[in-house]
Symmetry: C2
Subunit: 196 residues, 2 copies
């Protein structure tokens, strides 16, 4: 794709992310999205043939944004458990700052409305968390008898709920505090007895 076409496509996705974040899938119109993106309907239809296709692209772009921000943290020199905590904070901050991430997560919760399979992103995060927990068990910051697959699943599920309930009760105002509290309640069960 030429750079100009790529730029237009990204503008459409960003506009769509903002509209989906604000009004959800059912209430979003392609007219609103072209206005928000500053593109013509022709330009939008050149890249996307339906609202559903656009919603899937926003979810994909959201996951790509968070993965890109996460890959730096995941590849850093910090201990694995610190990287895992850093990933959660980063995701929380993206939910506060990035309209495409806000839109993508809202669409993920509404995914059955447009018959989308959103298991992939959840599974990616569960795999990443399990890998980091295994590393942490090797470097001794996590006890060796923790079931890393089960804990990774629990962590991703808890994080999902923490950000959703923070959104419902405080419009995410207390999100970063609730993520820290989540870790306060999780760390004692992970840490080896001597340091807990």
């Amino acid at each position: 794709m030429q750079q100009r076409a790529k730029d237009t496509r990204l503008s459409v996705i960003e506009g769509a992310g903002r509209v989906f974040a604000e009004v959800g899938y059912g209430n979003a119109s392609l007219t609103d999205i072209t206005k928000r993106a500053g593109v013509t309907k022709g330009a939008l239809y050149f890249h996307f043939t339906s609202k559903r296709e656009l919603a899937l692209a926003v979810i994909e772009e959201q996951h790509a944004i968070v993965l890109a921000a996460g890959s730096e943290i995941a590849a850093s020199e910090a201990p694995a458990l610190d990287r895992l905590m850093g990933l959660c904070r980063m995701f929380g901050q993206q939910l506060l700052d990035e309209p495409v991430v806000q839109g993508g997560i809202r669409l993920t919760f509404e995914a059955s409305a447009f018959d989308a399979d959103v298991s992939g992103p959840y599974q990616d995060w569960i795999n990443t968390a399990e890998q980091l927990l295994l590393e942490a068990a090797m470097d001794g910051t996590v006890r060796a008898d923790v079931d890393s697959a089960a804990f990774a699943r629990y962590l991703v599920a808890s994080f999902t709920g923490v950000q959703m309930v923070s959104d419902v009760l405080t419009s995410r105002e207390d999100l970063m505090l609730r993520i820290e509290q989540m870790w306060q309640f999780m760390l004692p069960v992970l840490r080896p007895a001597a340091t807990s």
Copy 2:
């Protein structure tokens, strides 16, 4: 309201719960709901003037069903921490067995689509959990220094995420297992040092 009118209203809510559970708010039609409920359109419109009103009634009925099942557990003679764990299992079982509960929870996640404030049910469960945690701290099964307000919020958020991710990844097939694992990861931080 006369008993017959009450029965009809409940039939409509049950039919609506099934339809919302299966296709979500956006895709549900009042025609499908009347068919599923086995009532006429006239009977439906006698009780509900819009899909939104019906969705709010399903959420309300869902919360009432789970609260009713929960009140027995909450009032039992069992230790407070056991009652709290029992409430989570009961809610999980209702999500597996009760179409109105399935519909109400799906609508709760989609609530922004029809501009509904769903903070009430979350707040009710957070308050119930906090009360039981305070009781458990008094009877010595939970350590006295646990921040019960913060933990109650964390528990409700985690439970919300656990059931949502179980739905996305396994259509709730592993829900009861994931609820047990949640408690395995939570209990060590709650239990007094001597018994952990």
